[in-house]
Amino acid sequence: MSKENSILKINNLQTSFFLEGDNEVKAVDGVTFDVPKGKTLGIVGESGSGKSITAMSILKLIGHPGKIKGGEILFNDQNLVESSEKEMRKIRGNRISMIFQEPMTSLNPVYTVGQQISESYSIHQGLSKKESKKKVIEMLKLVGIPSPEKRINQYPFELSGGMRQRVMIAMALACRPELLIADEPTTALDVTIQAQILELIRELQDELGMSVIFITHDLGVVAETCDYVAVMYCGKVVEYADVKTLFKNPRHPYTVGLLNSLPRSDMDQEELIPIKGTVPSPDDMPEGCRFAPRCPFATDLCREKLPNLDDIGDAEQIRCWIYTDEWDGDPEVKVYEPQK
């Protein structure tokens, strides 16, 4: 992993939710990854993998009953875990911004588009409404909204889903952040609109030179937008690699399982190979490798001991016993055979 040129380094991040009766749900359980400067890191995982909680933890937006329990979030050498609320407010929307899945509900229904974007300028740059108006229009133009002079006086309900997501992006990028966290930004959109938004994020990234964390469950979106990928399962990163390696030579049985169960629009498949079973519930987490109960290769070792996230090669990490010296199963095991 490129150690020196990272904008964000997360080390052993732990975020838990404390429910009634001393019930702790470890939503993020020791997550570690780097976001290289100027690049896009994809975080993939299914529901319950902790990918969104990881994103919310970076901005410390976890509310009661959730809590960041430990670990480090190093943003340009500043450890956000130890930063005060006041320091965090200076970062949020200014140096690190976030966009969300539901453009329909993520904008305040009772304020105009212009009011909502200009708020960023008033908070972080102390601009008055008049001063920021020009900047707001510029921003709307940048995200490809036609006739922005008119749009600033419109309310969110007057805009389509795609337009609202553009407004969200304009708002997030208003102060030219160094890092953009996009949490499933196109999941709620139609395919042709998704294509527009993905293209827009890509263009803006080039133009503004920012780094992006792209959270999604859609492997197609990952392949098209990301440079590096972290695959999460049950609150842990199980594989980290650059995007080409991950799709060409996936190593973790879970990653392979995901790829094999994906119906493809670009080729005919004989049959899908699903991952058996279901994601374990948080109060019944397996002791060893979290994936062991569903893994076709699991041995007693896997069921008893949790593997570490080990470096393999330059920019690859994997959390699986198969790739360690301790592996006690078939020494010739081949996890991945590309589908024809």
Partner: protein
């Protein structure tokens, strides 16, 4: 928006028609001849007949009704049986007293209710939340004539801070307004709290936090305006209820308002006066609702689509 207001005003026509018809029928559906009831059970027939003639009660029903409505439209409610004065002149001063009482009480309950509701929601599960909600429950379940009597006992009679009865001076306003405003404040506090809690968990509040907005600004700028949308409806209903619900309080504090007037009229079998008050209160209620609906639409931009 204009279309909407016009449409709503058109929709009032059947409602007002219903109200007048109901009030009209009320008089005729009561057992016995209205004139007999008004004149008293033992009144001789010729007196009753003369009264029927005077009031037009000998005419066919539909003619009576048309005259009834057209009189109302001209604010002519007839003459009081008790005083022989035009009812409208009798009601007018009392109406303003009741309206004042209702307005002040509503303002008080909005003020206290919304602040308490916000504090409660923002500090959910804290001591202040629990205390506020307990007080609200108490305020809600306490009969207001009892509260009125207690307030009068302590603040007027024992300590002499305020005059015990009457209406007009600022001092006389305090106790009745507190008495009437308490229940409303409790309802509004509970409504504000639950609405606020719902709004705080919305996605756009998360967006505001991610933007770096201060928590205080999030509550008062981003959340409150949304949270007030359902509260407005409750305030409107409260106000409507106050207009007709001041009877006991007016009696306790000896305030010469509509509430007392209607009670006195009922006791005196002054039918035209009872009818007049019912119609005035109903019409007012309908218009308050109209205002609530319009302001609801103003606050909630989303439903203003046509």
């Amino acid at each position: 928006m204009t279309t909407y207001i016009i449409r709503r005003i058109f929709q009032l026509i059947p409602v007002l028609f219903g109200v007048t018809l109901f009030v009209f029928l009320l008089m005729h559906l009561t057992p016995g001849k209205p004139a007999q009831i008004m004149a008293g059970e033992s009144a001789p027939t010729h007196v009753v007949e003369r009264m029927e003639q005077r009031l037009g009660l000998d005419q066919p029903y539909h003619i009576q009704y048309v005259r009834f409505v057209s009189n109302i439209a001209q604010l002519d409610f007839g003459v009081s049986m008790r005083s022989n004065l035009p009812i409208i002149d009798e009601i007018r001063p009392k109406f303003w007293v009741t309206l004042e009482l209702a307005i002040y009480s509503t303002i008080l309950s909005i003020f206290i209710g919304i602040i308490a509701g916000i504090v409660s929601a923002v500090r959910r599960h804290s001591k202040s939340d629990i205390i506020i909600m307990l007080v609200a429950l108490f305020g809600l379940s306490m009969p207001n004539f009892w509260l009125g009597l207690m307030l009068m006992q302590w603040f007027a009679i024992n300590w002499g801070w305020f005059p015990p009865t009457g209406w007009g001076t600022p001092g006389q306003v305090v106790l009745p307004v507190i008495t009437l405003g308490t229940a409303g404040a409790a309802v509004i506090a509970r409504m504000t709290r639950s609405s606020m809690l719902e709004v705080i968990s919305q996605d756009y509040i998360r967006t505001a936090r991610a933007k770096g907005v201060k928590e205080r600004v999030i509550i008062y700028r981003h959340a409150l305006k949304n949270a007030l949308i359902p509260v407005v409806t409750v305030i409107g209903l409260q106000f409507g209820a106050l207009l007709s619900g001041t009877v006991l309080t007016e009696t306790v504090f000896a305030i010469n308002g509509m509430g007392r007037y209607v009670i006195d009229s009922i006791i005196a079998r002054d039918f035209p006066a009872v009818q007049a008050t019912i119609i005035i209160i109903s019409v007012l209620f309908v218009f308050v609702n109209l205002i609530v609906d319009i302001s609801y639409r103003y606050l909630n931009k989303r439903i203003d689509l046509d």
